[in-house]
Structure formats: C-alpha cells, structure tokens
C-alpha cells in the first residue's frame, strides 16, 4: 500500500498550486469571517477530501487501474489505499486549518481551544468523513464523471431528508427523538461515543461496499 500512497502523493503534488490557492482563500476568508471559526477549517477539510478524490480520476485515465492491479496490488489494497489517502489528507488539512485558525485567534488576542469553539471544530471531522464514505464507493462504482452526478443526487437526497425531518420537527412529530437527543447532549461523553461509533460504522460499511465494487469490476 505504501507504493500506492506514494503514487497518490505524487499525483496530488501536481496540484500543489491549487492547494496553495485554497490555503490563501482560507486565510482571506478567515479575516472576513472572524466569528465563524468552523467555516474556514471546514472549507479546508472538505476541499482536501474533494482533492483526494482526484487521484481516482488520474487512475481511471488511460486504464491506470488496470495497470496498477498488475503490480503487487490486490483489489482490496487498492481500495484501502484510497481510504487511507483520503483520511490522511483531510486530517492533515483539518489539523492545518485548526492550527492556522488558532494562530489567527492568538494574533487577535483570543483563544480557539475552548470547549464551545472546539465542539464545532471537532464536528467537522465526522461530517467530512460522511463525504468520504459516499464519494469513494460512488466514484469506484460509477466512475469519476457519473460518480459526481450520483453524488449530487445523494447530496440532494440528504438535503431532502433533512428538510423532511425539519418539517416533521416543526409539526411536533419528532418530540420523542428530540427528547432522546436532548438527553444525550446532556451527557457529552455518550454523545461523543455515539458519534465516533457511528462514524466508524459508516466508514466500515463504505469500505465494505467499495471492496465489493472493486472485486466485481472487470478490466
């Protein structure tokens, strides 16, 4: 897997100008939106997760995956390398964004590492993970171009589900659920454990699906 990760790193380095531009925009955004600490970190993290997927496009182009699978690489290793690469990249940019934010906070005489701000900063991680959970299997199954369309449809579906839940909530139909979440929120540890377990479960399901897609793929 190390070889595949080096290859993906080399491919990502082809886009280093885009990464620098992204960083520059993040810094500018930071000064423009001083009170929205999560937005900048979220922007960097999501962008990184999106960029990580471009390595799949490079692999698709010119029968690259076919060739990679003739190397000492199993289909499972290929999938694993994509998840590892994506997670490493978005974690790196999340960390970079957080440090950048902390630095700017410090310059302004404020402190980022407080409970109320860190909750929104940490919340970016499971949300970004959802993006990875959907993106990798969709691109592997449908290809980069069709995958984007399906991803847009999935995004729309998630939005629709949220809208329906919102409507039900306003109509007072979700009181039991709200009470349960309310109780959980009072117990920060339980909430955190639930989020971590759900994130890992989502990742495992996504990985399992991606492996199945790759195992069935004909080159």
């Amino acid at each position: 897997m190390k070889g595949l990760l080096i290859k993906d790193y080399k491919l990502l380095m082809l886009q280093k100008k885009t990464f620098l531009l992204m960083l520059l925009i993040a810094i500018c955004m930071n000064f423009a939106m001083q009170d929205n600490q999560g937005v900048i970190i979220g922007y960097l993290t999501f962008f990184a997760a999106l960029m990580a997927n471009t390595t799949l496009s490079y692999d698709e182009y010119g029968n690259g995956i076919t060739f990679l699978l003739t190397l000492p690489v199993t289909r499972k290793t290929y999938v694993r390398s994509k998840y590892a690469g994506n997670l490493l990249l978005f974690l790196f940019f999340w960390l970079l964004g957080t440090l950048l934010e902390a630095l700017i906070y410090a310059l302004q005489g404020r402190i980022l590492f407080r409970m109320e701000t860190m909750v929104s900063v940490l919340a970016i991680l499971p949300v970004s993970l959802i993006f990875v959970d959907f993106m990798i299997p969709l691109v592997l199954r449908f290809g980069q171009e069709k995958g984007k369309l399906v991803w847009a449809a999935v995004g729309g579906l998630i939005f629709a589900v949220i809208a329906v839940l919102n409507a039900l909530s306003e109509a007072g139909r979700l009181e039991a659920l709200k009470q349960m979440f309310g109780k959980m929120a009072q117990h920060g540890v339980i909430m955190t454990v639930c989020i971590i377990v759900l994130s890992l479960l989502g990742l495992a399901v996504s990985y399992g699906f991606s492996v199945k897609v790759m195992e069935k793929k004909i080159f």
């Binding site: 290859k7 491919l11 010119g62 029968n63 190397l71 000492p72």
Partner: protein
C-alpha cells in the same frame, strides 16, 4: 508457470475460449489480429478478467489466490495501460522501490538514464518508443520470473522495435528460468524471439507449434487449379483460392517434396501462416 485451461469468457459480441501454457525458460508468443482476444487472454491470466468457466493457474495457484509476494514475481507491460502519464520517471521510481524489494530507486533511475529516457519529463511528453521502453523496463526491473508482455512493440518504428526486443532477449540470457508470454500482431517480431507460438482467432486458439517446427516443417504449396482436385490433401491445413489456382498450407513439407516434386513450394513465414490460417478454408 502459467496455465489457462478451457478458459471461457462470454461478452456481448465476443467469446474467448482458450487453453494455453507457458513453461519456465521459454518465450511463448501469442499471435493474432487486433481484437482476436490476445489482451483478454492476458487479462484472464492476470486475474483482471474473471472467466465464466475454466481456470487460470499461475505458479501452481489459481490466479485469484496469488498473494502480493507472488505478484512481485510477475512483470507486466500492457500497450494501452500504465502509470499516469502526468507522472515522471523520478515520480515512479520510489513507487516501484516501495512495491518490489529488489528495486532500488537509484539503480532504476540509472537504468532509465542508460536507456536515454528523460527522468524529469512527464510520460505524456514521451515519444511512443520511449513509452514502450519504459513499460518494458518497469516489467523487467524487479527480476520477475514470469513476464507478460502485451503488444510491447505496437506502434514502434523498426529501430525502437529492435531495442525493445533486445531488452527481452538480454533479460532471458541472464534469467534462464524465467518464462515470457508475449503477444503481437507483428509476426516477424516473434519469429526470432519465441520458442513456441499460439495463434488466436476470434477468441479461439487455432494453432500451437514450436517456432522451429513452424519454420522448418510448414510450407506454402502453389497448386494449379487442375492439379488441386487430385492433390493428396491429408496434410493440407488450409487452402485459399488464388489467381494461379490454390495456395495450400502444409505442416508436412517433406511429404509433398517427395510426393509432389513438381509443385512450387515456398518455405512458410509466420506472416503467411497467419494469413492462411485466418483467411484460408480448412
């Protein structure tokens, strides 16, 4: 070393139905026209295409059971697949070094330099010859015991073709027990290289013979029309209508030399053989 047994794969407009074997220390050629099924057969041998029926065995194991260590013993070059063309040789070297214990980054780069391949240029800017040399070099660089080379000389000029073939010959001189399965639709490339040849047409192996036998025992008989009817056809493999009568392919040259001394006989070249096997009737 590699064995395909009754491999059957059905596509919408094509069926692969073949058996073939590669022994250690031999170079086995697979010849056929474009679309005959050469690449599909190779992909089955590498586990990239799963057959509907039959079995592909490599190093004594079903191909789907090969471990990473087993795959390190295989070197592959495909005409239409490779590393991303946006990468350079300098980018690829550490990737190969991480994948194969026997590959040293520095040595690989030196090897590429010796082959006059630009190290810092993107592969997409390479000439066709450079790309072909790089692909074969990647297949050869890790002391592979089994080489699978799909059309390594396609689209190359005579000089570049000879360079690529020389790389393979040199490799076999040093690695006597290695086995090479190579395909081409240019028969002359394989005539001088291969120990035995398979001829594939429409997904089916229609002939398998040692190259020496092909060149020494096969011949093309030029039979006048009036003679054709009475000709002893027991050793005629294919015949084809020509302006002078019939061109007949035989695998018993000596028999016709002794029994039909008046017939014009041309020693079979692989190209003629392919033409006859593809176009002639049984």
């Amino acid at each position: 070393m590699l064995k395909l047994t009754n491999v059957h794969k059905r596509y919408e407009d094509f069926i692969l139905d073949c058996s073939m074997e590669l022994m250690p220390g031999r170079i086995t050629g697979l010849i056929g026209r474009n679309g005959a099924g050469k690449s599909t057969a190779f992909k089955v041998a590498l586990g990239l295409v799963r057959p509907d029926d039959g079995e592909a065995v490599v190093f004594g194991k079903p191909v789907e059971m090969l471990t990473t260590q087993d795959r390190q013993r295989i070197g592959v070059a495909f005409a239409d697949a490779g590393f991303s063309e946006y990468l350079t040789i300098t980018d690829i070297a550490p990737v190969l070094a991480a994948m194969y214990p026997s590959v040293k980054e520095k040595e690989f780069l030196e090897q590429c330099s010796r082959m006059e391949l630009p190290l810092s240029k993107k592969i997409k800017e390479f000439s066709t010859g450079m790309r072909a040399k790089l692909k074969v070099l990647i297949a050869l660089d890790h002391e592979a015991e089994l080489l699978i080379l799909d059309e390594p000389t396609v689209g190359l000029d005579v000089v570049a073709r000879e360079e690529v073939l020389a790389m393979i010959r040199e490799y076999m001189t040093v690695h006597e027990q290695a086995g090479v399965l190579i395909s081409s639709h240019i028969a002359t490339d394989l005539e001088s290289l291969c120990d035995d040849l398979y001829l594939i047409r429409d997904g089916k192996i229609i002939m398998h013979e040692d190259t020496d036998v092909l060149l020494s025992e096969y011949a093309l008989l030029k039979v006048p029309a009036e003679k054709y009817e009475t000709l002893d056809k027991q050793y005629i493999l294919r015949s084809k209508k020509e302006s002078y009568g019939y061109a007949c392919l035989t695998d018993k040259k000596q028999y016709y030399r002794e029994n039909e001394p008046d017939l014009v006989m041309e020693n079979g070249s692989i190209d003629e053989l392919i033409l006859m096997m593809n176009g002639g009737r049984e």
